[in-house]
């Protein structure tokens, strides 16, 4: 068998082994995750495998197949220049298909005053950019991909992975965040242009510190600024769609989600610029509950 290289990463409550046929993606991950702790006792929850789809793809036009403990049969390979993205997608895949210790919501989250703002929406809604921007304005970044809803306590636990900036968000963040926090720019990925941003140090230092969810937003970019109330059933159904493991958790998932919908006020928010969104969020935050 071909030799593999490997690193271990710990992000929030989850720990990963990333094994790769090439050094490059691991060196990039190591550089970007340099301030993260190592998994206690070197124990992990999941293994991600980055390997050539066909043996000759190791050297000739190398392409990275994303595999691991949990995998999808139809995952398209990425060129080696996007190996970092492959590693990140591999970790997402393990969480989405294998994590059961929280209800996973496809959402970003930030914290202030000990309470969490959760933002969920389709790709392009701006939830990732908003969380990155708010993190520059005094909020603590908790995650831009998955919000981990505790089944027992109802708290949101941080999962502060690298922030995945796409397309216009890259330029916007380059203006406000320091250069050493950025990963390599990857053009023409299946999700457009992508550049990873290391979360602020506070996010990493406090990644074991949960927060009570106080507001849920469904942001939508590109429409005149507006806030809309939503019925609980609409919120519930949209969150079941935004959860990767709602079905897999069975009754525990149902109980956690109904409690979340009962207790956390929610709004749909349309916006056309980050400034508008920040203004709307500030007003909602000050009058919450």
């Amino acid at each position: 068998m071909q030799p593999m290289h490997q690193i271990l990463l710990k992000i929030g409550p989850a720990a990963f082994r990333i094994a790769s046929a090439w050094r490059q993606p691991l060196e990039q991950l190591e550089a970007l995750y340099r301030d993260y702790p190592v998994p206690p006792d070197d124990l992990v929850d999941f293994t991600v495998r980055l390997e050539p789809g066909k043996p000759w793809r190791r050297h000739i036009r190398p392409s990275v197949h994303i595999g691991g403990d949990f995998w999808l049969p139809d995952a398209a390979p990425l060129p080696l220049s996007q190996g970092l993205l492959a590693g990140e997608m591999g970790m997402n895949l393990q969480m989405a298909l294998g994590w059961r210790r929280h209800l996973l919501l496809h959402a970003s989250s930030v914290e202030r005053d000990g309470e969490a703002l959760v933002m969920t929406g389709l790709s392009g809604s701006g939830k990732s950019t908003l969380s990155a921007m708010l993190a520059q304005k005094g909020w603590r970044f908790m995650g831009d991909e998955f919000a981990l809803l505790s089944i027992d306590s109802g708290d949101i636990e941080p999962f502060p992975r690298l922030i995945s900036l796409k397309n216009q968000a890259i330029g916007a963040m380059e203006e406000v965040a320091s250069a050493e926090r950025f990963g390599p720019e990857m053009r023409g990925t299946p999700k457009g242009d992508i550049r990873h941003l290391v979360p602020p140090k506070s996010a990493i230092d406090r990644m074991e510190e949960p927060a009570r969810p106080a507001l849920l937003l469904f942001p939508r970019f590109g429409h005149a600024p507006a806030l809309r109330d939503m019925g609980q059933s609409e919120i519930f159904v949209r969150l079941t769609q935004a959860s990767t493991n709602y079905v897999a958790l069975g009754e525990a998932g149902f109980c956690a989600l109904t409690r979340f919908v009962d207790q956390v006020p929610a709004r749909a928010m349309d916006y056309q610029s980050i400034e508008q969104a920040e203004e709307l969020i500030e007003s909602l935050w000050s009058e919450r509950r």
Binding site: D41, D42, L43, D45, G68, A248, L249
Partner: protein, 344 residues
Amino acid sequence: MMRDARTLVHALREPASAGALSSSQWTELVSIARAESLIGSLAHRLADINLPDRVRAVLRDAIESHELARRQALWEADCARRALADYPGRIVLMKGTAYVAADLPAGTGRSIGDLDIMVARGDLAVVESALLHAGWEWVKPDPYDDRYYRDHMHELPPLIHRERDRMIDVHHTILPLTARPAPNAQAILDSAVMLDNGLHVMAPADMVLHSVAHLLADGDLAGGLRNLWDINLLVRHFAGADEQFLKRLDSRAQTHGLVREMRRALRLAARLYDLPLSGFSVGQTEFADHLYIRRLLARDGYGRETHKLTRFGFYVRSHWLRMPPLMLARHLWTKWRKGGKSPG
């Protein structure tokens, strides 16, 4: 780095052996167990062992997810029961669903995918139409595949339920019609055991022999460690309740033409899982047994498939077992022109 799945086999056979594993060995063991669909079984086996916290959490997750799989499998079986309420013949649950429905140790922590049932061959049309009426649909609309299933396989083309997204395989015997052994399907149906809800499971010897046929007379041994673990647990359980069980198994294997396969399966289970055979003769170790073991253990500590050549050999063999040479050539030619995969 683990070069094969031996550590998993040891941990299943002798849970205390896992107590001495290092952190990196745990990580590798978990990857191997997940890849072999044995993580749920492993989790139950290690329930009483002192484990590091993170490993304990990983195994608890596995137990919970397999508990959900068990409930879903039973629910799916009940859906089929209701869809076929007017069908007067016997509906026999197979494989994992049967193990959990009959509450057998082999069902504990077992992963269960599709629902597999068996009915009389003459009733296939009635059963198929009742299922289509109740919301199941064909998965493979390809006419060649459809014809192939109906002419040569031991099951209907797979059906999927349009709302629940779950598959059902309706069998009428336990091996493809093109395979060399020809099990007595009627005998299996006649001796099936009824459960409280009216569904049936195979009688003990038939249940073991179905698993044996699936492992050794069909397919390329993918998931073989799990299937052999099933056989090990089934035989231990039935032999514990009936000391004549191995003798009955032997005579039933003759009925189905599966004596060689049954003996090999017991040899492999004794070798890997320490299945006690209490003096029952299963023949001498054959050279080929080593190849089977090499194939069964072909998984490294990253969870990767190893021994590509051995794997390929068993893949070729699986086609050879299924089809006479001329038919195989015709089949591969058709498949090659379509650029598709073979059924099953």
